[in-house]
């Protein structure tokens, strides 16, 4: 059975009253949702909070979910909105601000470098893979929200243009142009690193 077919069975069970089926859905999707939130927010704790929030919302609305669309897309949409709310919250912004000035902080890949080099190749190009990935995440963090979201969904999560349009509610043309623009921006920021 396909992954989405299994999702559908679990959802039907949930809608019939088997609330435990939701736990199974969480286990199946938590890592992807968490990863999306983490890449989007660039902060482990905030990502955890947003991912949890997304599942709480999904639990509340699952009875009205129609199986016409994919559960994963629906869940992504909820997670994207949770992350956007998080980005808009004053607490998150204050936290990011204090982190970004002198101490870029840590992530699961280790300490974040102090700055991103622009332009010509530099010694940063010889950095280890771990540090390189930290730089990529930092570059992602510097993108405006609307670009960061689409490029994360495309290049980190591997969603198709159509799925991204469904998750974000944007039209296909906007999705394509935003992805192109985000990639160009990232490439310019990471020139010499990748």
């Amino acid at each position: 059975m396909t992954s989405s077919g299994e999702d559908a069975l679990l959802i039907e069970a949930f809608q019939r009253g088997d609330k435990k089926a939701f736990d199974e859905l969480v286990i199946r999707h938590k890592d992807r949702i968490f990863n999306l939130c983490y890449r989007f927010l660039g902060d482990y704790e905030e990502a955890n909070d947003s991912a949890q929030e997304a599942f709480v919302k999904a639990y509340g609305s699952l009875n009205t979910f129609r199986l016409e669309s994919a559960f994963s897309t629906w869940l992504y949409r909820i997670a994207v909105n949770a992350c956007k709310n998080k980005l808009g919250s004053a607490a998150y912004r204050a936290k990011r601000k204090t982190v970004s000035l002198d101490n870029p902080g840590n992530n699961e890949d280790g300490p974040l470098p102090m700055e991103i080099q622009n332009g010509t190749p530099s010694p940063l190009a010889r950095m280890e893979e771990k540090e390189k990935m930290a730089l990529v995440q930092r570059a992602l963090d510097t993108l405006p929200t609307e670009f960061k979201m689409v490029v994360t969904l495309r290049d980190v999560e591997g969603l198709s243009y159509e799925e991204i349009a469904e998750v974000t509610g944007l039209n296909l043309g906007t999705v394509k142009s935003r992805i192109a623009r985000a990639r160009t921006d990232l490439r310019n920021k990471l020139r010499g690193v990748l």
Partner: protein, 326 residues
């Protein structure tokens, strides 16, 4: 042949194989011959690969447990509901008692305030004057319709006691020569209607030659001085045209009032036509018959029957409404 910038704009879609066949063929053709664009494509490919190779970060091991705890946590709304109503046996009777006390307080305070809320019953003429006040409020842009307010309000004490606009309106009054002495509460404004035989000229019209040498009374001179001052005042509305002199009709009535030892308080002009509409004046009570006689010389006079308390002596406020013979 597509140029480099067009190709570069489509490289992202080219990478994702999202271009249609025709655009893809063009891009392929261009990339074969343009090393710069090929380099651009390679750098984008490296970028996409780099972003895609970001290690997938797994959710914490206790994610589901945390989620269960979070879902069990009562929401803010249920917390508020609990705080407001539970335990029902205690809080509901308390709230009912509180509501009853509030109701008693409100109903005991309300009647105390009612007398001030109620308008005193006014005689018909004063109601009419009250209408004029309303009219004045509606026409604040008008020249001086509000000028009639002050005497009217005095005539109906308590009628509109908290009218904040009266101060502003008084400023707009064009011809308030001096404040009328505070009238006694029972005093009534006499309202007379005067249908003029002579033509009532718009205020902005050129004065007739006969108006110039008219023996301008101190009151009229004061009126004119005030007009000039208003015109000179920088904050004055520039659109407002100020004539050199009062229309002849007003001058004649002013003379009549002064002959009856009275005083003109203000002249109100229609904001639409610029013609004088009414004149506020005061005159000694014993001089009223003389004034009426003088006014009858100017036109058809209608004196409204007085219903309120009237004085037989002292100054009586008077309002002369002007109409023109058709």
């Amino acid at each position: 042949m597509m140029d480099c910038s067009e190709i570069r704009n489509s490289l992202s879609e080219y990478l994702d194989d999202a271009l249609d066949a025709k655009a893809k063929a063009f891009a392929d053709e261009h990339l074969r011959t343009c090393p710069a664009c090929r380099e651009e494509l390679d750098s984008l490919k490296a970028l996409v690969k780099g972003v895609g190779s970001l290690k997938s970060v797994k959710a914490p091991a206790d994610f589901l447990d945390q989620l269960h705890k979070r879902m069990e946590r009562p929401s803010k709304i249920s917390k508020i509901r609990e705080w407001l109503f539970y335990p029902l046996r205690v809080k509901i009777p308390l709230q009912l008692a509180g509501a009853a006390v509030m109701a008693i307080i409100i109903f005991s305070i309300l009647p105390l305030q009612q007398p001030s809320l109620k308008l005193p019953s006014k005689p018909e003429q004063v109601k009419e004057a009250g209408d004029a006040v309303n009219y004045a409020h509606e026409n604040k842009v008008g020249k001086s319709a509000a000028g009639s307010e002050a005497p009217v309000q005095k005539a109906a004490p308590g009628g509109v006691p908290n009218d904040k606009d009266s101060g502003k309106s008084a400023l707009r009054s064009e011809a308030l020569v001096q404040k009328a002495p505070t009238p006694e509460p029972a005093e009534e404004t006499r309202i007379v209607a005067l249908k003029l035989k002579i033509q009532v000229r718009a205020k902005a019209a050129a004065p007739q030659p006969s108006a110039a040498p008219a023996p301008a009374s101190p009151a009229v001179q004061e009126l004119q001085r005030q007009k000039l001052a208003e015109r000179a005042a920088p904050q004055e509305d520039k659109r407002e045209e100020v004539p050199e002199k009062e229309p002849e009709s007003v001058l004649s009535i002013t003379r009549a009032i002064e002959a009856a030892k009275g005083k003109v308080l203000s002249v109100d002009y229609s904001p639409q036509t610029g013609q004088p509409e009414s004149i506020q004046a005061e005159t000694p009570a014993e001089q009223l018959p003389i004034l009426y006689e003088k006014l009858r010389e100017l036109g058809e006079l209608q004196v409204s029957p007085q219903t309120g308390t009237q004085k037989d002596s002292g100054l009586v406020p008077l309002r002369i409404r002007l109409t023109v013979s058709p």
